[in-house]
Subunit: 212 residues, 4 copies
Amino acid sequence: VSTNRLEAFSDGVLAVAITLLVLNLTVPLVGSSMLAHKLATMWPDYLAYVTSFVTIGIIWINHHAMIGRLREADHSILVVNMLLLMSVVVIPFATNLMATYLKDGGGAAHLTAGIYSGTLLVMSLLFTALNRQILVRKPDLLRVQLPAEARQQIWKRAFAGVVPYVIATALAPISAYLTVAICFAVAAFYATPLASSAGAETASLDAGDDDV
Amino acid sequence: VSTNRLEAFSDGVLAVAITLLVLNLTVPLVGSSMLAHKLATMWPDYLAYVTSFVTIGIIWINHHAMIGRLREADHSILVVNMLLLMSVVVIPFATNLMATYLKDGGGAAHLTAGIYSGTLLVMSLLFTALNRQILVRKPDLLRVQLPAEARQQIWKRAFAGVVPYVIATALAPISAYLTVAICFAVAAFYATPLASSAGAETASLDAGDDDV
Amino acid sequence: VSTNRLEAFSDGVLAVAITLLVLNLTVPLVGSSMLAHKLATMWPDYLAYVTSFVTIGIIWINHHAMIGRLREADHSILVVNMLLLMSVVVIPFATNLMATYLKDGGGAAHLTAGIYSGTLLVMSLLFTALNRQILVRKPDLLRVQLPAEARQQIWKRAFAGVVPYVIATALAPISAYLTVAICFAVAAFYATPLASSAGAETASLDAGDDDV
Amino acid sequence: VSTNRLEAFSDGVLAVAITLLVLNLTVPLVGSSMLAHKLATMWPDYLAYVTSFVTIGIIWINHHAMIGRLREADHSILVVNMLLLMSVVVIPFATNLMATYLKDGGGAAHLTAGIYSGTLLVMSLLFTALNRQILVRKPDLLRVQLPAEARQQIWKRAFAGVVPYVIATALAPISAYLTVAICFAVAAFYATPLASSAGAETASLDAGDDDV
């Protein structure tokens, strides 16, 4: 029961956060002849919308797999999950900030691209921390007992998701576009069949549940 | 379990997106004597609100029937579902854009009506893609095994929903009002007993589940 | 299963609509010495927030009892439920409109108070229509078969909820304050133990379910 | 069933309210060279975001434990729960108000800090009232019968959560910073292992359920 409500609340927060991204797409108020041009110049908003939507969507898919391994949650898991959600809810703000200044010639583009990928980096670190809490520190709360190596392996694969955001954030002072491109590439990668095979692996671990 | 959470998350996103439509109805700040007139001139906002609300409501009803056929979801279904939700969440923006410029004499009305019906077209294409993924490509994930012809038939009927949006979008350069009228008519049609008979057919397929 | 998801989606829409009411409370930007006075003049906003919050909360409680009687939903019930939700989602807009103009000396106060109670009237009419659809027209979809008199009685009691909103809307041209006061009184009444006894009656009908 | 939907609706409202906090983080529109400085001066917004997010997160965790003890809800519990949610939904407004005026030299900082902690005080009083309604006045609705002393003990521990908000609100005329610091400290405390031990106690009471 406890895990059900943890999922329901997390789903709710993720669903609202992912939908609030649309509020960053504001209707421009210009003369009729200028509208097409104005909408075209808003491309950083669309790029940012797609990147952040897919990123939060991927978080939801992975969150589902992570919590699905859990039989019940204790206080420490609830708190780390809350911190993870707190970082996800910041994403619409960081997205809007980055989209507003991406085309800016000066330092603001580098700064806001860095804040954007930095927000995703913090989110992925908290995701990894929650995974570690579940797989390494509280294995007795798992629905299916897994050997220590299998748990370490899942956790390490999750940790690998942190690396591109470290690189993206480190590159922000050099190129804001490169930083955003890496964030977009990470989102795109996890939505492809390449990531699907990793997902299938997770599914087979979950399927193992049925055998027990 | 997996399908339950897919439904819960999709329901959450659809519920937030449908409710955010009200944010497009902004309170006008005018003198007391001007208010009635000002509220009357806002009729494109009301028309757009009703059209988009019913459209998203219909998406929810059909999404329910579609996912209800599914026993469990794999990675590709989750990703296509995410893309579908991404197009639905854009609807409040496209609605606001269209309502703002519908009465504009110039090209902006044609452009924004086209963007509006184009958004609904993309949404219906992704809906059809998800239906195809479920019914044609992954029939082993269905809760009830259906003969290939029945699956093709459901999928083709779903594809028929794409056609009016193609026409509406194609007519946008000619008449913005006609484009919006078609979008409204599609929403109204699916809310009538005419569409209900198709829904009953789906229900009887679902009811077949109890017999197995 | 169908009823579960109907409830889940309706709960989602009601939860978002009730929470969006807070967006009508905007932070005033004034000098430090003027803030207390400015916040005090915002009392129509607070009154409107409480009235609409309790009203939507009561809708949720009654919606819960109504759908709880249902075994499964057909297309017509889904559509009437969607229209009901469409009227509920308009409440935050109507609330903001009324709160903005309530203290206005001219016709705008009467107009917006009438729109506010008119929105609640439409909502209560759609609520009654949904109740009638469930109790009178589709009794075979009920979880527990009730005698025709009991069904008529529940439906008529629900219809009685429409009357105060008819009176409130009719009085709008005479006194905006009276209109809002009636809407507030209806919300307050349903939150008291007086309405609780009606609720207990409903509960005993539901409890009858356990005996079957 | 009734408790499930009470939880689902409450989860929905809490999830939307906690996510709306991000709308208080607005993107500043300044020249490129000024952005870093401007973002730095927005620290009260970040502090307020973290404090309110963790506070609502803690409300959710405790609400979960409280409703989890309940077998079914009656009308009075639904109404007190609605009033509790009404106070929670005000938190984003009170948070924004406090963050806007915290650095103000004059009386507005004291006033808005007092309104902020006052909102949390009202929320904690309603939380305690709901706990009392469940544990003391309606013990027959509990899932597991608890001895009167155990019920009194849980309720008194919940009441202890009110005290810091009384102090914080009383100190608002003296120091706005101190008031906010106490609110932050309460949130931080409940997120630590110290509060976890109290949580474990609750868990063991819930675990007692399995023995029955």
